[in-house]
């Protein structure tokens, strides 16, 4: 027990400040800080996300996992991942949406209570960039997430960095 406690003490608090504004300066830095307050005001520390992998290569999932590490500490912003779409305010969907997952994704969407937010993650999920072209529609794939359910915000990247994901999630809350 003592080595464990010593280690916790030595590691300290690693959480970094919220991410800088997106490259296109869609949301300026002051906005982000205001957003944090807004998230708290609207959702009372409880934005909940249901992640749905609808056909990704699992690269996006690795970065979504990273959101919960000590550096990004998404849960520290009052945002957490939940197991059921019925408990979720937001669907975080990675793609391309396969035909075999199309139905499951629609069911998850229908199960999410209104008003709901959908964030499409990754080049495949957004249908952009090189990976989006590589994984376009074919006999087994519906392509981008927006081809199946309505999307509020897109977070491109192959895979998008945890910072880009945080920005996307905050931007989606802003749109609501």
């Amino acid at each position: 027990m003592i080595p464990l406690l010593k280690r916790i003490f030595r590691t300290g608090i690693l959480t970094e400040p919220p991410p800088p504004p997106p490259p296109a300066a869609e949301v300026p830095r002051a906005e982000i800080e205001r957003l944090n307050d807004e998230v708290l005001a609207i959702l009372g520390r409880a934005l909940t996300i249901r992640e749905v992998d609808a056909g990704s290569c699992n690269g996006c999932e690795l970065e979504i996992h990273a959101l919960n590490n000590a550096y990004y500490n998404l849960e520290g912003c009052g945002i957490k991942f939940v197991a059921s779409p019925r408990h979720a305010d937001m669907l975080l969907v990675t793609g391309p949406v396969t035909k075999n997952m199309e139905n499951a994704l629609r069911i998850a969407y229908d199960c999410t209570p209104d008003p709901k937010l959908v964030v499409a993650v990754g080049d495949c999920g957004c249908g952009c960039g090189e990976a989006g072209r590589l994984f376009n529609e074919n006999y087994a794939t519906c392509g981008a997430v927006e081809n199946v359910i309505a999307v509020d915000v897109r977070v491109p990247g192959c895979p998008p960095t945890p910072t880009a994901l945080m920005q996307g999630i905050l931007a989606a809350v802003k749109r609501r």
Partner: protein
């Protein structure tokens, strides 16, 4: 040359990749006899896929890769339409009676190419309801109208799970969307109370037609695609693909490129083991482990981003070499990070090992035997955690590892217990060994170019085998007359290890499943393709 005195003549594949031989079976009988002989000599089935060669050779082709002591034997069997066979769906001998791991590969081959085995399990595997039974995407004459809302209707499908009867027996269906942030798949548990009587998996939810996407692309686009078969193994796939293409085109990558590839592959191995060791702690309610390991992983990935330009090093390995170079300050940073990480992991390992609650969950949970591992043709960490010394990077009787591992003298990490604790121990040991390898590679990085031109050679073919962090990643490539990809098949070690998971849960209760599953952490995308 011949293997086991069977009448299939093999030719060795040139190039610096893992040793591989190609040969043609004259008929189904020869293939079957060869498979039996491989099994008798302790070999494994490594991969199986089909190919429509009607335009070029007037036949369908079955490709089987067997793993022998010496290396990999790629056996092809031409299947001519007509004759005693069904003209539209040619048959080949069922190999699943010899190698149970062949079952799902055979079913996937039928769904995609429309050649099938003469008996055994005939349930569809990748085809759920998105296309009709007698339409096969990898046949050249398959026409499909692509677009949203066009093409075939996406019909709901049923799957014939094996039912378990008896008083008190019931089923727990899980998935395709799981509770955590993981890929989709369906698990059907048959249980009495908490006790698992049977687990049957139904996968294919991630099927996005990767093999169909390869057809007709050039070598460069193929490299991008193969790096996205399974994102967590992007370096392993890219290297296996590059080896296959280089063998097909008669190109030898420079030594510096091979060393840099190995350095990236070992970094990928460390990153995944760090993440999984953390998640394993978390699944046993030891959140401290997750926090610590995810922090270490993040540091590791950040150095990847800084030095390799990508957190997972995607698209850095290409046919002909690598598209990056490391200068001496960068190499020094790598060595320093390895030293620092080694100290931290050693420290946390002792905390893991001395935590009674954690060990109580790990020990004896999800155990498989070495005998089962051999029977299911397992490779990689899952096989080594049963005590089997099998690592493509290490010397063994009759086998010499490919460059640059031959000079590094890699020590295989094994553990004979076969349970979650064994897989945790093997992962810890592999982290330390990989850190040593990374340091050796960084210190002794050969001078010279890191990339040579890789001009496509028409009609070439090649096989690449790389020991990824999960196990053996295989890519087989066939080029067409214009030097484009006629057929490429990536094979993930998860094909075989998924079967082991079905066995590993049998002695345990349902709440142990997440822990057992995570101890293997298999790829869905890599097998659904």
């Amino acid at each position: 040359m011949l293997f086991h005195a069977e009448p299939i003549e093999f030719t060795a594949q040139a190039g610096p990749g893992a040793p591989a031989w190609t040969g043609r079976a004259a008929d189904g009988e020869d293939l079957l006899r060869f498979a039996v002989s491989v099994h008798r000599h302790g070999g494994r089935i490594a991969a199986l896929w089909g190919d429509d060669r009607r335009r070029e050779d007037g036949c369908f082709r079955l490709n089987c890769v067997f793993s022998l002591d010496e290396g990999h034997a790629w056996v092809t069997l031409d299947l001519r339409a007509g004759g005693a066979n069904d003209g539209d769906c040619p048959f080949y001998p069922d190999l699943s009676g010899i190698f149970p791991a062949a079952n799902r590969m055979q079913r996937a081959t039928r769904d995609l190419v429309g050649i099938c085995c003469d008996g055994g399990d005939q349930r569809a595997w990748l085809r759920h309801g998105a296309w009709p039974e007698h339409w096969h995407p990898l046949r050249h004459d398959s026409v499909h109208e692509v677009g949203v809302g066009v093409g075939f209707p996406n019909l709901p499908s049923d799957y014939d799970f094996v039912q378990v009867g008896g008083e008190g027996a019931h089923e727990i269906p899980v998935g395709p969307i799981h509770a955590g942030i993981i890929e989709p798949g369906h698990f059907r548990f048959s249980v009495i109370g908490e006790k698992v009587l049977r687990l049957e998996q139904r996968l294919g939810y991630q099927h996005k037609g990767v093999e169909h996407r390869f057809v007709g692309t050039d070598i460069a686009a193929g490299a991008k695609l193969v790096g996205r078969v399974s994102g967590d193994s992007t370096c392993a796939y890219a290297w296996a693909y590059a080896t296959a293409i280089e063998a097909a085109c008669g190109v030898a990558p420079p030594p510096r490129a091979l060393a840099l590839r190995a350095l990236m592959l070992e970094r990928e191995r460390v990153a995944n083991h760090l993440g999984d060791l953390g998640a394993l702690g978390n699944d046993a309610a030891f959140a401290f482990g997750l926090t610590q390991f995810m922090r270490l992983k993040e540091d590791w990935l950040r150095l990847n981003a800084q030095l390799f330009g990508h957190r997972f090093m995607m698209d850095r390995i290409v046919p002909g070499g690598v598209v990056l170079d490391l200068d001496p300050p960068a190499l020094r940073m790598i060595v320093e990070q390895c030293d620092a990480l080694g100290r931290e992991v050693k420290d946390i390992r002792s905390i893991y090992e001395e935590h009674p609650g954690l060990q109580d969950r790990f020990l004896t949970t999800g155990a498989i035997t070495a005998e089962l591992a051999r029977e299911l043709s397992l490779t990689g960490m899952a096989a080594r955690a049963t005590g089997i010394i099998l690592d493509g990077r290490c010397y063994r009787q009759g086998y010499a590892p490919p460059a640059p591992y031959a000079e590094l003298g890699v020590r295989p990490a094994t553990d004979e217990r076969g349970d979650v604790a064994a897989r945790v121990a093997v992962r810890f040991d592999e982290i330390f060994e990989s850190l040593r390898l990374i340091k050796e590679l960084a210190v002794g990085l050969p001078d010279g170019d890191s990339r040579v031109e890789c001009a496509p050679r028409p009609c070439g073919c090649g096989l690449g085998v790389v020991e990824g962090w999960r196990g053996e990643v295989i890519v087989g490539v066939q080029l067409d007359e214009e030097g484009r990809i006629a057929r490429a098949h990536p094979h993930d070690p998860s094909w075989q290890i998924w079967l082991a998971l079905e066995h590993a849960v049998l002695a345990d209760i349902v709440p142990d499943f997440p822990l057992i599953n995570k101890s293997f952490n298999l790829s869905y995308s890599g097998v659904d393709l």
